[in-house]
Amino acid sequence: MQKNELADIVKKATCKDAEAFTQLMQFYMKNMYRVALAILMNDEDAADAIQETILTCWEKIGTLKEVKYFKTWMTRILINHCYDIRKKSVHTVDLQEWEEPVAEDHYNLEWKEALASLDKKYGIVLTLFYSEGYHISEISRMLKIPPSTVRTRLQRGREQLARYYEDTQADVRYRKRTQTERSK
């Protein structure tokens, strides 16, 4: 979608045009999903966060000051909802009461595995920086952490990811070698 076209849709949405708003949120659905998954690590919670975000954005879209900041504004709302959901789900569960999730998570497995290899605080920073293209200063404001912390987390996140891929490659090489030895 062209920038002008997008700006027009945002303007219409701020005037409570439901169709324009729906189109806008659909356009950003993948972005929202990536960010929500980076924080919550499962599709069900991510779906809840996105649902809440859509409703909140609709409720508050009249307060959006500048059309060009819509995505940033929406992402901030999403991040807050993600943190709320994460807070609610942090509780101690008796092992005897815990049940395995019924629905299987088949989507985007490689992406999820990569995220799972990282500390929680690095995943969201890497996602906002590399996937969503935000600057360090924007990420700093969104996550309410200093820019220096953003840079540190980016670096450490990259290092963790690099180790994850090295280990993954090593694992593959080990399996191949073992198979070769057994077949001799």
């Binding site: 169709e19 659905m29 993948k30 409703l55 998570d105 992406w111 690099a162 891929y165």
Partner: protein, 327 residues
């Protein structure tokens, strides 16, 4: 490796179904709000009705149906034919409302309900603004309760969808759950979000096999879902019952079970059970798009004569029926 690491953040991802479904629910809520604000045909309540009804839903419909004088007749919910509330004109949709409904896909689809009295697989289309009564015969619903007002309901839901290029249909519910009773070895449920615990409600469905000493001839499974998906080509089967159910505390046990209850009492009791209940039907098309429709569940007090259908019993006896209205 650096390339692979960077690509993971920029590679395309697939939106899971659960995300699409929940997003669709949110959009549907927004559209409902939008249509409500634009609807010029909302009938204003008389002040005395507002006071009596305590702001409960279903009062608009109550007003439209020609009200009979309050009497001590016990309303019985019997198997009735489908009917329309003929005194009510369909709500005229504004152009915007129509556009909003079709925001995601222009393919039309119709929702149908199979009501009692229709033959075989015949169903009645659910049109916007025209409530349709669903079958509430003794075999398709169950309502229970105790003297403290702890109540529950389980009502059969014979819905279906028709349209072109439809791949799947998802139903979701905003209160309680769907109870799916079916042959364990022949499930038609493609996927769904199952409740982690069972609801304490009655069960509707499962064949009673007289020849088998009352036991069903196949293994029956009973599950509870907040939403579930069916294949378009397999929306029903003889051994599957799809019901809506919930546990609800009502204000007064006697509204439903009191010996001297009136039709209005019973309607209030039933209304408290299903107050605010909305079922959302999301149709997924083969091109990946989807469209949703909301069904509001309500109640109405009427007589067979008013409603225009033949009743083997007394045509003038007041009845309280559950109705669906597509928004």
């Amino acid at each position: 490796m650096e390339q692979r690491k960077n690509n993971i953040f920029t590679s395309d991802i697939e939106i899971p179904e659960i995300v699409q479904q929940k997003a669709a629910c949110a959009f549907s809520q927004i559209r409902r709000e939008k249509v409500k604000n634009m609807d010029q045909n909302v009938i204003e309540l008389k002040p005395e009705e507002k006071k009596n009804k305590n702001g409960k839903r279903g009062t608009v419909l109550r007003k439209v149906v020609a009200a009979t004088a309050a009497c001590a007749v016990l309303a019985t919910a019997v198997g009735v034919g489908d009917f329309y509330l003929k005194s009510r004109e369909p709500v005229t949709e504004s152009a915007d409302a129509q556009e909003n409904t079709n925001a995601m896909n222009t393919n039309p689809f119709v929702l149908k309900v199979q009501a009692a009295g229709l033959d075989g697989n015949e169903s009645r289309e659910l049109e916007r603004g025209i409530p349709v009564a669903i079958d509430v015969s003794a075999v398709s619903w169950s309502i229970g309760g105790d003297e403290e007002g702890n109540s529950d309901y389980c009502i059969n839901l014979p819905l279906s969808c028709e349209g072109e290029n439809i791949e799947r249909i998802t139903y979701s519910i905003n209160k309680g759950a769907f109870q799916i009773v079916e042959n364990e070895n022949a499930s038609i449920i493609v996927s769904g979000n199952e409740l982690s615990e069972r609801l304490e409600v009655g069960q509707v469905g499962g064949h009673y096999d007289e020849e088998n000493g009352g036991e069903c001839s196949y293994p029956v499974s009973v599950k509870y879902y907040t939403d579930f998906t069916l294949d378009y080509t397999c929306q029903s089967s003889e051994t599957t019952w799809i019901n809506m159910c919930n546990e609800v505390k009502i204000s007064d046990y006697n509204l439903i079970w009191g010996e001297n209850r009136t039709s209005e009492d019973l309607q209030q009791g039933y209304q408290e059970l299903i107050d605010g209940l909305v079922i959302t039907c999301t149709v997924h098309f083969t091109d990946g798009t989807y469209q949703s429709a909301d069904l509001e569940v309500g109640t109405v007090v009427t007589t067979a004569k008013e409603a225009g259908f033949d009743d083997a019993g007394d045509a003038d006896t007041e009845q309280v029926l559950f109705i669906f209205e597509r928004k």
